[in-house]
């Protein structure tokens, strides 16, 4: 606590992200999940074993419904059934067997999405034994997958659920230029990560700019400079281009032996094919511009710049490129490349027509992502930038859903969307509001008033305060 900066440095591999495309019950345009995993082999790899948990239909009435589609419905209602949002409006028809939730005085929003988390890979209690976020053995480790580190019994998970989080992107750290694949997860109690994997979601690839790779590898063979960083990304993608050509050739006619598989190049090839989204830890404006040029050189898109504390300086450029920014409300100054952080960062990106996202990168912040969005919204408003409540809500719902490629499935309250829904005790932009109920795919995964719906991890059993004790 008193040495937060050193902690931050230790966790420095937290900042890349991944992309995903989700096929819920309804299959999105990109059909085979195997496509998202690899075009080098035609067998499923480490598939999701997610299954929706049964829950009776639920109708929440007399609440303020914030849809994240531009509407805030006072005294509205919403019906959830079989994992779907069935109806949203001033009134809804509910089946006789629906559980009725009195939402008087309460607010309802989509489940919050954190596109930058290290839950499960930097698990509590924070021992070296559980430090599984940075494969800091080589500056390019595109071959590692965060899901293979992820510990579902991380006691930070129930805390984040109680904060209204329903989906996360769990990322490798930022020690490496290319840190590995992310895991896109439904945030639910589970025994295995496979049960949490968002069905059909595409992987993301974590990349990192700047100080962290320099610091980690500067005395270990490099890179030791930002130009060394750039050379490292380019060398990796040049190899990936050659690998892709080999496989494309073989895939045409399957003549002879297939090329030898290379997991590192396989991940990069899927980036080149647009099947994996690049999620890029990058602080400085000039460096983000370099990374955009890198993406142009190799013909891929950067889905989101993460941390991006200087993104306000090039908000016009980022909007034009269609690259989102995943930022904090007010972090700054913990290292040199974070020196120019300002509270209006998200708002200025919104004003420029960009796609801001408020992310946490932090097991505390993820519990209060609504508060972080509130701070960033009001900082903008006080500076004369007319951020709407709906826009700010989208910073933690629809926009991160887009960054993960899941925006057709989650992130708003619309009929047909997955029933990821939070009931708040009051206005979620108030410091005094708390999540009262959290539904994940229609399942009541958390209820602040009912210890029967306050999941605990194995780690907590017999060690930490019991459910209902306001952890």
């Amino acid at each position: 606590m008193r040495q937060l900066w050193s902690l931050l440095l230790a966790l420095t591999g937290a900042c890349a992200s991944a992309g995903a495309r989700a096929a819920h019950q309804a299959t999105p345009a990109q059909s085979a999940a195997s496509l998202a995993e690899s075009t080098s082999v035609n067998r499923a790899q480490y598939p999701s074993r997610y299954q929706r948990h049964a829950n009776p239909p639920v109708v929440i009435r007399s609440a303020t419904i914030m849809t994240a589609t531009g509407q805030e419905i006072p005294h509205g209602a919403i019906l959830l059934r079989d994992g779907r949002i069935v109806a949203v409006g001033a009134t809804v028809d509910a089946p006789a067997d629906a559980v009725v939730v009195d939402g008087a005085g309460k607010y309802v929003t989509p489940g919050l999405i954190d596109d930058h988390s290290h839950l499960g890979v930097y698990a509590a209690p924070g021992t070296e034994a559980e430090s599984d976020g940075n494969e800091a053995t080589n500056p390019v480790t595109a071959e590692v997958w965060a899901e293979h580190s992820f510990w579902p019994q991380d006691p930070q998970i129930p805390l984040a659920i109680a904060g209204g989080i329903t989906t996360i992107q769990a990322l490798p750290g930022s020690a490496n230029l290319i840190g590995g694949r992310s895991a896109i997860l439904k945030l639910i109690p589970a025994r295995t990560v496979q049960e949490m994997k968002f069905p059909g979601a595409r992987y993301g690839l974590k990349m990192a700019c700047g100080e962290n790779p320099k610091r980690v590898y500067g005395r270990r063979g490099g890179p030791s400079t930002r130009m060394g960083n750039m050379a490292g990304y380019r060398a990796a993608f040049i190899q990936a281009e050659a690998y892709r050509r080999k496989w494309d050739t073989w895939n045409k006619d399957h003549k002879g032996d297939p090329p030898e598989r290379n997991l590192r190049l396989e991940s990069l090839t899927e980036v080149l094919r647009g099947n994996i989204y690049v999620q890029n830890h990058c602080y400085r404006a000039d460096e983000m511009a370099q990374m955009l040029d890198l993406a142009h050189e190799f013909g891929f898109k950067i889905r989101s710049f993460h941390h991006a504390v200087e993104s306000y300086k090039i908000a016009d450029l980022l909007a034009q490129e269609g690259t989102s920014v995943s930022v904090w409300a007010d972090w700054w100054g913990f290292k040199e490349e974070a020196l120019d952080g300002i509270q209006q960062n998200a708002a200025l990106n919104q004003q420029a027509g960009g796609r801001p996202i408020i992310h946490s990168d932090d097991p505390g912040g993820i519990q209060r992502l609504n508060q972080e969005a509130a701070k960033a919204m009001y900082a903008g408003q006080r500076s004369g930038i007319p951020i709407t409540r709906d826009q700010a809500l989208r910073w933690v719902t629809a926009n991160p859903a887009w960054a993960l490629g899941l925006d057709s499935i989650v992130g708003t309250l619309e009929p047909g969307k997955m029933a990821d829904v939070v009931v708040w005790s009051g206005d979620p932009f108030s410091v005094y509001a708390k999540a009262v109920q959290v539904y994940n795919d229609g399942w009541l995964v958390y209820d602040r008033t009912d210890p029967a719906h306050q999941p605990r991890t194995d780690f907590e059993v017999g060690e930490v305060p019991a459910p209902g004790s306001d952890r």
Partner: protein, 402 residues
């Protein structure tokens, strides 16, 4: 500009005043002269030469006090050249007073004060005994001008992070501290023998032992960081043995023994939003501050991350969400820290005679909707600008006008 910065007579009129030392006063005024509050109430006569600040519809509170962090002692956390809070190679650094490490020109100071934090404890870090913490106002061209009190306390670490300095065991931490106190008393009794080198070696240097004497005589507090319940109990035990005036800091599992802490009359510095379990405090939870306050413990709330000191009000808001009353939380960021740090005669409330550290808010200071409208430190109105507001102005229209 110069006139703007000079102390003068200022009247803040027509707002809701939260004196903290008493009930709130609607439609009240505050009169300030030469850096001090000279009148508070609903019937204050305003001299004609007073500069008026119209606070109709606004909330007026004392400036907030953050009892943690390294304001002035760090600029960029990861850049060692800008860090001054830790003295290397001295596990018992009791004589290390951080005062002359403070940089009055630090950019963190304006960033923090324009959000209503006017006073902060600058806390040494690292080692078994980290050094001497000092209280500063967040304004002033020199260290002397900023200083409120030095030292406020000597900081010792009884948490997990101190173990390495004591050889790897909590028991050794307690033993080292106990020997240190005994040696300080021995040193005091036998200074002449010590100077003639006619004594066994002591467990710390003469300046460090000397620095501990005011603690052992109850004139300076011992600020003990401890989180695990048993470590808190060790701190209480040590304080009792040596009759030390103890301030507990961190105290993540303090709620488990709130009654005992209250009975010992020991105040606690708590970070309300801290709830991530680690082996140093598996019992950490949001409700800690509320449970302690309810048990009668004097609680001050902290934001320990220096660059985020401005989030002290978010910490306070969350403390309210998890059980503190709003009045308790306001007191825990104003008058209670002033009491704990021994400056309540000058700080922490809006009363005649007190130093005029005053904030005018657009509403509830803990709410995100609320903005700071005026900040006064020692009776001077502070311009609401910082390096960050300047960066915003520079880039609010693109391309920037370089």
């Amino acid at each position: 500009m110069i006139a703007f910065l000079l102390a003068q007579t200022i009247a803040i009129t027509g707002g809701t005043v939260y004196p903290v030392s008493g009930p709130k006063l609607a439609n009240a005024s505050l009169l300030i002269r030469d850096g001090r509050i000279i009148a508070v109430g609903t019937n204050v006569s305003i001299p004609s030469d007073a500069t008026r600040i119209d606070a109709a519809g606004k909330w007026i509170t004392p400036g907030l006090i953050d009892g943690a962090g390294q304001l002035g002692l760090v600029e960029v956390s990861a850049v060692p050249g800008t860090r001054e809070a830790t003295v290397q190679g001295d596990t018992i650094a009791a004589a290390f007073n951080v005062m002359e490490g403070i940089n009055p020109a630090s950019t963190l100071i304006p960033v923090t004060r324009i959000e209503g934090i006017t006073t902060a404890l600058a806390v040494p870090t690292g080692n078994l005994v980290s050094g001497q913490a000092v209280l500063i106002d967040l304004d002033g061209a020199t260290i002397e001008q900023m200083l409120v009190k030095s030292p406020v306390g000597i900081v010792a670490d009884l948490s997990e992070s101190a173990k390495d300095d004591a050889g790897g065991s909590r028991a050794a931490v307690a033993d080292r501290l106990r020997r240190m106190f005994r040696d300080a008393l021995e040193y005091e009794r036998r200074k002449v023998d010590f100077s003639r080198a006619q004594m066994q070696p002591l467990s710390a240097s003469a300046p460090d032992l000397e620095a501990l004497l005011p603690v052992l005589h109850g004139r300076v507090a011992l600020i003990a960081y401890a989180n695990r319940r048993s470590d808190i109990e060790t701190a209480l035990r040590l304080a009792k043995e040596f009759k030390v005036k103890l301030i507990l800091a961190g105290a993540a599992e303090g709620w488990e023994i709130a009654a005992g802490i209250a009975a010992a009359g020991v105040p606690v510095l708590v970070e309300p939003m801290n709830n991530i379990p680690g082996y140093d405090a598996l019992g950490v939870r949001y409700g800690n501050a509320a449970v302690l306050a309810k048990a009668g413990v004097t609680v001050a709330l902290l934001e320990t991350d220096t660059h985020k000191s401005r989030n002290l009000r978010q910490q306070a808001g969350n403390a309210v969400s998890y059980g503190m009353t709003w009045d308790q939380a306001l007191r825990a960021v104003t008058l209670s820290p002033a009491e704990i740090f021994g400056v309540a005669d000058r700080y922490g409330s809006l009363e005649p005679g007190k130093v005029a550290n005053v904030v005018v808010w657009s509403g509830d200071p803990f709410e995100f909707t609320t903005g700071v409208e005026h900040v006064l430190i020692r009776g001077k109105e502070i311009p609401l600008t910082s390096r960050q507001t300047e960066l915003f102005e520079r880039y609010k229209k693109l391309p920037p006008n370089y």
